[in-house]
Symmetry: C2
Subunit: 190 residues, 2 copies
Amino acid sequence: MSPKAKARPGGRSARVQEAVHAAVRELEAEQGRAKLTVPAVAARAGVTPSTIYRRWGDLHELLSDVAVERLRPEEPPSDHGALRADLTAWARQFLDEMASPPGRAYIRDALLGDPDGSNAGQCSAYAAGQVETILARALDRGETAPPADTVMDLVVAPMMYRILFRPDPLTAEYADHLVDTALAAPDESA
Amino acid sequence: MSPKAKARPGGRSARVQEAVHAAVRELEAEQGRAKLTVPAVAARAGVTPSTIYRRWGDLHELLSDVAVERLRPEEPPSDHGALRADLTAWARQFLDEMASPPGRAYIRDALLGDPDGSNAGQCSAYAAGQVETILARALDRGETAPPADTVMDLVVAPMMYRILFRPDPLTAEYADHLVDTALAAPDESA
DNA sequence: AGGCGGAACGCAATGACGTTGCTTTAAGGT
DNA sequence: ACCTTAAAGCAACGTCATTGCGTTCCGCCT
């Protein structure tokens, strides 16, 4: 399981976790990925390396932890008054953030140090949550909306696949195209 | 660039490369991922560790190299006489292989030690090649077939997304469903 | 066919990293 | 306020990653 599920959430443990996460972000910004090492992070955080090894296991799991936190959406998707507009805006922003070099790095980190797949699942859950918010809003308006799984398959999955497996640049028009496909699909629930 | 693009393809270099790759496969099968370390691989391959470090950089790049080789399809997709049958059979087999624990491990390895994304691109190119073979066969028969990119977006991408980001098990019915969607989509070229 | 340049490998040393047992601290419950 | 116990500090050890230098052998050119 993920080390973030702390049995002792308060006080020193929380301070250490925050200090370590901050140290990772700072060192990454200052010196780049190459200089990121457990002893370096520990020194910056004012902590001994063994603490990091015990709590996170290794550098990859720590980076995965930090990456997932960075991939968490900070606010619900903006409301443009109609399903298509909401989905299009969200997909464009999602693609823009995820396809950027830092975004790609976070995604890779999140996938990388993740033995049981829980961190990757968390990322997917974040995106699914945003999508569900948009779809629920549409249903509230009386619009017809496809199931969330359909949007995940037709919009999110293709974007992530191209981000991960293809070096080509991705455009906002591609996001629009995927939204078109998803909204044209029949509302099946399989 | 990938180290597989050897400037000196013949003789000793080739023997070393093959010995190292074989050593990785053997050790992985015998002792699992945990015991896989550069010195161990080097010892099994009858090579000094520095050789591996020089040629591949680190363990991740070596594993990525081996993983890509394993993900290469060994034969063209089987011909069932009709587009839907061909696509369905191929998607089922693809999902079965990729979603298995070893398949997931190879995918992760391929993505992991891949600074410039060339190995991941190679994986995608393998799948795209198989898909294009199926589609070309369909066009030869006089069938109408969607563009390859559509199939990649609607069939391959969702499968890979779920494999990577969701822990849930995946079924052959899911592959069938994706093929249905792809074949129902309008033949647009965007 | 034979020699030549250069790339790749082997060897060995070094410094950093990952790992672990024991001790110390402090959080949370009684 | 004490007591329990999870979590962090400390320190030492083994292993791994990295690099300079000498040697081998591939590929090519005459």
